[in-house]
Amino acid sequence: MTRGIRYFLTGSALVVFLGLGTGLIAYYNGGLPIGPRAANGDLTFVPADASAVAFADVRAIMASDFRQKLRQVLPTGEELAKFRDELGVDIERDIDTVTAAYLGGQSAPEGGVVIVRGRFNTAQIETLATQHGAVAEDYKGMRLLSMATGDTTATHHAVATVAFLNAGSLALGEASAVKKAIDANASGDDVRKNAEMMNLINDVTSTGNAWVVGRFDAMTNQAGVPAEIMNHLPPVNLFAASVHVNGGLNGMVRAEARDDKAAEQLRDVVRGALAAGKLMTGQNPKMDAMLNSLQITGSGKTVGLTFALPSELLELLNGVAAAHQLGNGTGGVIHK
């Protein structure tokens, strides 16, 4: 073997080993839950055993072009004005972020807790709540306003609770869920200790201004997906979805299948659905553009689907809504 051949083989091997070495170091460093991108203080109120966590940067979404276009399509609603007048909270301006967690076990409203960060007039909220029969109490140094809802004669009736966590942050939910959130914060046993969930959260936080991650089984059980459908779906452990709201809507949905084979089956299901969708949309260029934006991604056990809802599609929806209003003779104002 000549010297030139030896140099060539050594050089090639060196490139491969350097690449693998870099990857190996990155693999072990990346696996450690250090320096999380989701340095979101509200996560300290999410218990470690939460089945799902969701987040929305309300301020960014409200300021987006997408929201402006959506306002043209959707009615403004009197409820929002009533909410603003009575509580002194303008959802569009006073709320910065919303973090929600589903704790599992019970039905979604009862097993969920929502942490809202923004600017609130706590005195006005407390006065209004107590006028409506709410009872104030302190729990681990935090102010709670609780009010029974639904059938109050039942043994286990729901108790809606608002907790003022700290300056500019409050929690909403059923009393037990809110107290569990406060306990998680006090004990430090919060979702940041759940490495599996935090890996997902760290992955999605940079991909959009709204996201949700969670255990797939807990969510499908809660959603009441028929067993017939579940039996035909490949086994999925975790899921994540995120959207970036700006001029249009870009997003991704990701599922962590049980193994590589299940992931490939899931990709086949998605691919088949996309093919069917493309066949059904026919010559509609707008829908075709949207379907073409759907891209299957992911590798190994990960199956992903990215999508983009262009602003043109919103304008199309706006046109449909306007035509619908004219057809009904409701006399609504057509925004354009």
């Binding site: 090639s12 690449g19 693998l20 990857g23 190996l24 249009g248 991604t297 590798s299 190994g300």
Partner: protein, 280 residues
């Protein structure tokens, strides 16, 4: 005083194969085929460099409806399109079929066969030289593309396991295609044409047909191990995706191993038994 090998003693099969390997690897690396291999493998590297430069300038290199596609997705597509579907089968065809056919065409096979070594060792030695030559070119290229593409919105650590899978399956693909086309080169009169028909014709058709025909391809087992999502950018890929059946990892490995061993054994047997007639 050293013991010199007795001239009458014929070397062992493996020793003979290693001698042929040393002789052949130099010939293979510094040949015109290397230019072809450089083009096949250099294109994805060049594409990766251009995409990375565009990305560093703040331009999304690939967009779908104004939505930039991340580096890991592009890397997955490159593995599928450039390496699994093109580089590996095409290099297997060009190099594998030439192992014996070139010696016949150059009328130099007589010199090899007149040596006191098993004929099968000539083929195995040349096959090992092909394998070293191609893997030592393809694998570094994949690593370079990976290092360039993944940081564009992805994590090197998160995609490390997939990279190792990619490297292993590409090496397996080169070994299997090489063995199969070494058999074609030893047994057929026009092996290159037959090889191209197999790779670009038969495998493409069989892979989109529902049923069992795909099991008579190498691509079925090799593509089943690719850890990245299969691209659905063309109607052919879409149809292939719809009828795709992914064999299990063990099924893929056993099938590919069988194809490689049986092909190589048959090729060595053919070379040992066949009388090559050199055209004057």
């Amino acid at each position: 005083m050293t013991d010199a090998p007795r001239p009458s003693a014929s070397p062992s099969f493996m020793y003979a194969a290693s001698r042929v390997f040393e002789l052949s690897i130099g010939e293979m690396l510094w040949s015109r085929r290397t230019v072809f291999m450089g083009l096949v493998v250099g294109f994805p590297v060049l594409a990766a460099i251009v995409l990375r430069l565009l990305s560093s300038l703040g331009v999304a290199p690939i967009t779908v409806n104004n939505h930039g596609v991340d580096g890991p997705v592009i890397f997955g597509l490159m593995i599928w399109i450039f390496f699994v579907r093109i580089s590996v089968p095409v290099l297997g065809v060009f190099y594998g079929t030439s192992l014996i056919a070139d010696e016949v065409e150059d009328k130099t096979i007589t010199y090899l066969f007149s040596r006191p070594i098993p004929r099968g060792a000539v083929l195995v030695g040349k096959y090992l030289a092909y394998l070293a030559c191609t893997t030592f070119v393809i694998l570094p290229a994949v690593v370079i593309v990976w290092l360039l593409m993944i940081p564009m919105g992805g994590s090197l650590g998160a995609s490390f396991i997939d990279l190792t899978k990619d490297l292993v399956l590409l090496a397996i693909g080169l070994a299997v295609y090489g063995a199969l086309f070494a058999l074609a080169g030893a047994a057929l009169k026009r092996p290159l044409l037959s090889g191209l028909v197999f790779v670009l014709g038969w495998e493409q058709i069989a892979m989109i047909l529902p049923g069992y025909l795909r099991q008579l391809t190498v691509a079925h087992y090799l593509q089943g191990m690719v850890p990245h999502a299969m691209p659905s950018n063309t109607p052919l890929s879409l149809i292939q995706g719809m009828f795709r059946e992914v064999p299990s990892l063990s099924e893929s490995l056993i099938s590919l191993g069988l194809i490689m061993v049986v092909s190589l054994w048959l090729a060595a047997r053919t070379v040992t038994r066949k009388e090559y007639v050199l055209e004057q």
